[in-house]
């Protein structure tokens, strides 16, 4: 492995992180909060480490192979989570390191699972930082770095491959840097649009910015104890719609920008995604009408919750833990489906589900006609055998990680629903689960050990398992 290059890139990441901390620092200055000091200290640490690792250390050999890309990604995410958790520890807002780490990992991985029971008592600059981690983690730090650094050489697509969700990574433009720039431009534009829409609805600037960050990264950290429930219906609907928008494959927007509207709407994944949302909303709305006694309200609640869960955001407007079993069942199902590939959402991804369903259909067909030949395709293009193979392995690994995690956290003696949905909510980067980790509850009840397991799940889920799994392979750490 190219160690010099790995440390160089990590240094740049730390510089970026330090630079990004100016925003929460500014918030601290505006509101004159003493917690700003902890942010300033962290920022200095990050910048100092970053400078130490980059200045005069530009490596001669700048090639990065696939495994380097995966390794850097895993290490980067662990390092930024650690650094990002320091303001919480320094300021005393979350004194325990594991708790602070949980909160930050939950932020960067856009999970939105919290260990805080009273969010409103937090200093505003730290609330801002918490939501900002969602925004940073949503599109990815390395993608951000790639849009800035003119790293030449074709090998840097390997960094993008490791961090971008989905079974296949498509470059939108010939160079990695311009692709990263396009992605971030779309991301920033959509975020700004949401902020403006929320401001128009009469929301305060601080609230609209932080909530938009949470939506954009499909994260789900609220800044009020009841998440989104106390905002106006207009704001709830705006957030609901924007969650859906951020869960769409960003290629869709790229095609729209290029005025290839037909092609955008021909994307099978996006169609499938919207279709699932529609069906789930209807099913849940019909199921919960008896509770709300009002068809329109039920539809709104159902829409918001479906949109929040399928995009793996995790905002809530109602305590869905009190909903009928069928609705809960649909929501848990949506947790697994997840958003589109190439979006900021987590989960298994719609395109994977789509392709897996087609493999299943193919297998059935082969039982009926053993000699039949059928190539599985998506968007009219055949899916490479290699993609199918790695997808099957992904599913197996996913299930294995899932089962082992449940087993490990069940040492805490909570009921199965709690454990199952806790793992589902973290591995799929959603946030709230059911029962003891339901929308009105939080993850503080778990022991430190269980929290570490869930931290791993969040990282593994965000990075699509393999970068994190790679850290456990003996060969990764050997020189040859």
């Amino acid at each position: 492995m190219n160690r010099a290059m790995i440390s160089f890139i990590l240094g740049w990441i730390l510089l970026c992180l330090g630079a990004l901390m100016t925003l929460p620092l500014a918030v601290a200055l505006i509101y004159r909060e003493s917690a700003g000091i902890s942010i300033a200290v962290t920022m200095l640490i990050s910048l100092a480490l970053g400078l130490l690792m980059t200045v005069g250390r530009r490596p001669k050999d700048r090639t990065l192979y696939l495994r380097d890309g995966f390794f850097i990604t895993a290490v980067t995410w662990i390092v930024i989570s650690f650094i990002g958790s320091l303001p919480f520890v320094f300021s005393g807002a979350i004194p325990h390191l594991v708790d602070a780490l949980f909160e930050t990992v939950s932020g960067f991985t856009t999970t939105g699972a919290s260990i805080l029971s009273d969010v409103e008592s937090m200093p505003r600059c730290l609330l801002f930082w918490r939501s900002f981690t969602h925004w940073i983690g949503g599109m990815g730090v390395l993608v951000f770095l790639l849009s800035l650094l003119p790293l030449t050489g074709g090998t840097h697509v390997n960094l993008m491959k490791a961090e971008s969700p989905g079974p296949q990574v498509e470059k939108l433009a010939p160079t990695v840097q311009s692709t990263a720039k396009i992605l971030y431009s779309i991301y920033i534009a959509l975020t700004l649009l949401e902020i403006v829409m929320l401001l128009l609805g009469g929301m305060s600037l601080f609230d609209s910015v932080t909530l938009s960050f949470g939506t954009a990264g499909t994260g789900g950290f609220g800044i009020r104890n009841d998440s989104i429930a106390s905002y106006s219906t207009y704001c709830q609907n705006v957030i609901g719609v924007f969650m859906i928008l951020f869960g769409i494959n960003f290629n869709f927007y790229f095609y729209l920008l290029l005025r290839k509207v037909q092609r955008a709407f021909d994307m099978e994944e996006v169609r499938m995604y919207l279709w699932i949302v529609g069906v789930a909303v209807l099913a849940i709305a019909l199921n919960i009408v008896p509770i709300y006694q009002n068809g329109w309200l039920a539809l709104q609640r159902a829409f918001f919750q479906v949109s929040s869960i399928i995009t793996t955001t995790g905002y809530t407007t109602a305590d869905f833990d009190l909903w009928p079993e069928f609705s809960k069942g649909v929501l848990v199902l949506l947790m697994f489906v997840g958003a589109c590939a190439g979006s900021t959402g987590g989960g298994i991804k719609v395109s994977r589900c789509l392709i897996l369903m087609r493999t299943m259909r193919k297998e059935l067909k082969r039982l009926l006609h053993p000699q039949s030949v059928e190539k599985i395709s998506l968007d009219g293009k055949p899916v490479a055998h290699e993609t199918l193979r790695s997808m099957n392995v992904f599913m197996v690994t996913y299930i294995l990680v899932f089962i082992v995690s449940i087993l490990l956290i069940s040492l805490n003696e909570f009921d199965f629903t709690t454990n199952f949905t806790a793992v589902a909510a973290t591995l799929n980067n959603i946030g709230p689960g059911l029962n003891l980790v339901g929308p009105t509850q939080n993850f503080a009840l778990y022991s430190s050990g269980a929290k570490l397991v869930l931290i791993f799940d969040m990282l593994a889920g965000r990075l699509e398992l393999f970068p994190m799994m790679l850290l456990f392979s003996k060969q990764t750490w050997r020189r040859f």
Binding site: T63, Y65, L66, R478, R479, F480
Partner: protein, 452 residues
């Protein structure tokens, strides 16, 4: 001796060259008449075009008279069949080349049941040689004598060893008295040096050392004396397979590169401990991704000699500490000496040496046999191991009084468990094993070392 040889490929031709030089009368058989013609033109031998495993052809070629029968065609089965026919029709010793790994475990069975005297597997020999080199990377060539109790090790002299400027007579005090410099190559000239010889930078020394002391010796010379820990092997053919099998047994991590996907699959089943990479070994990017700069050794074993050399040079440029290359066909050994390839292995010479040594031993069935023969310093020096089975004019006489041929050195006397680096007053006794290094060719009896 009357020798009948079937198969005029690379090995066959090399054997004919060597054996005809040693004065044997040889008849070659090959199904390809052109090849036979070419050999007849080049060497002083008889030739016949025909099927080597038809009794008629064999009889016609004089199998009844032959004392040695060698089958080195491209096909294992054909070689075995030829030998069986020859054995039945004549009374000769039979030597067959069998290279398929499938048969490698059945060698004893074949020898006993089919009555074949020697079964040689050049790929296995090459693999063993390479594995020896990788386990002792400072040496560019290692030959072992007396059941690997004594080794001849060749290595280049560099500034860091602290040898430059020493006279050979003083080396004993520096390196210990059980070490002997047997041959030196300087600027392409090979000599057997005297005590006055002064070591220069860039000399290629061949030294004799007891196997157990080799590590300590290299330690004294500030050269690496431990085995390599990882190897990148390009070419997953038979040698690659045997080599990897040997290496993983010694806990060396191996990555094999092969461009044939099917072969990669086979190898991954045969060698689960090794990492098999599918790709073109001449693709720079691919080699780098395979970890070339981090490997402690690089072995090029493709079927194309030129490619092997280029790959070796490239690996050297990337800073790989130990490079081994295999050459099948090329005749330009001397050119390679000047290149930056640490070690070159020639499977065809390995098998030639083995057969020549066997035949020389046959010639002296009762006398003082050649037990081992190596040609060192690209064929210009022979190192021979003799067993002294009967008293003669050179037993019991101190070496000083022996009138040996010029350019000849008695390097070592092995008496029971003792390894003696002989001085002038030492004597050879019956029962000893003696190692001799000489520029002279074709010795097959210890008495040949005496001047006429």
């Amino acid at each position: 001796m009357e020798i009948l040889l079937v198969g005029c490929g690379k090995v066959g031709t090399a054997l004919v060259a060597q054996l005809s030089q040693e004065g044997h009368s040889i008849t070659v058989i090959d199904s390809n008449a052109d090849k036979v013609e070419r050999i007849k033109e080049e060497f002083d031998v008889m030739g016949m075009a025909g099927n080597g495993c038809s009794a008629t052809t064999l009889v016609e070629a004089g199998v009844e008279r032959a004392e040695v029968f060698i089958a080195v065609t491209g096909s294992d089965e054909l070689n075995l069949l030829c030998c069986m026919f020859a054995k039945r029709t004549g009374r000769c010793c039979t030597i067959a080349r069998v290279r398929n790994p499938m048969y490698s475990r059945e060698v004893d069975f074949m020898k006993q049941q089919l009555g074949i005297s020697v079964i040689i597997n050049p790929e296995l020999m090459a693999a063993k040689e390479i594995s020896r080199l990788l386990r002792f990377p400072a040496a560019s060539k290692i030959d072992s004598f007396a059941d690997d109790r004594v080794r001849l090790i060749k290595f280049p002299v560099t500034e860091t060893q602290g040898l430059v400027g020493f006279k050979l007579r003083d080396l004993g005090s520096k390196l210990g008295h059980d070490v002997l410099v047997c041959a030196v190559e300087r600027d392409g000239d090979v000599s057997i040096p005297s005590g006055e010889f002064q070591v220069q930078n860039g000399d290629l020394l061949t030294i004799l050392v007891p196997s157990g002391r080799a590590g300590a010796l290299f330690g004294k010379l500030h050269m690496p004396n431990h085995s390599v820990r990882s190897a990148l092997v390009v070419g997953g053919g038979t040698i690659g397979y045997y080599l990897t099998r040997e290496l993983v047994e010694n806990k060396i991590r191996v990555r094999i590169v092969d461009s044939d996907y099917r072969r990669c699959e086979q190898l991954s089943v045969l060698l689960p401990e090794a990492t098999i990479l599918h790709g073109d070994g001449t693709d720079r990017r691919f080699l780098m991704e395979a970890g070339l700069p981090l490997a402690e050794s690089f072995v090029s074993l493709t079927n194309i000699d030129e490619e092997n050399i280029l790959l070796a040079l490239y690996a050297k440029r990337q800073g790989v500490p130990k490079i081994v290359s295999k050459i099948n066909r090329l005749e330009f050994d001397d050119l390679l000496e000047g290149m930056d390839v640490d070690s070159v292995v020639y499977p065809k010479y390995l098998i030639c040496d083995y057969i020549v040594q066997y035949i020389r031993a046959l010639q002296n069935q009762a006398g003082n046999n050649v037990k081992t023969l190596y040609r060192i310093l690209d064929n210009r020096v022979e190192a021979l191991e003799f067993t002294v089975d009967e008293a003669s004019e050179l037993t019991g006489v101190s070496l000083l009084e022996l009138n040996t041929k010029p350019n000849l050195l008695i390097c070592c006397i092995i008496r029971g468990d003792q390894i003696i680096i002989p001085r002038g007053y030492d004597r050879i006794h019956v029962g000893d094993t003696v190692i001799v290094v000489t520029l002279e060719r074709g010795m097959h009896d210890i008495l040949d070392i005496l001047a006429d």
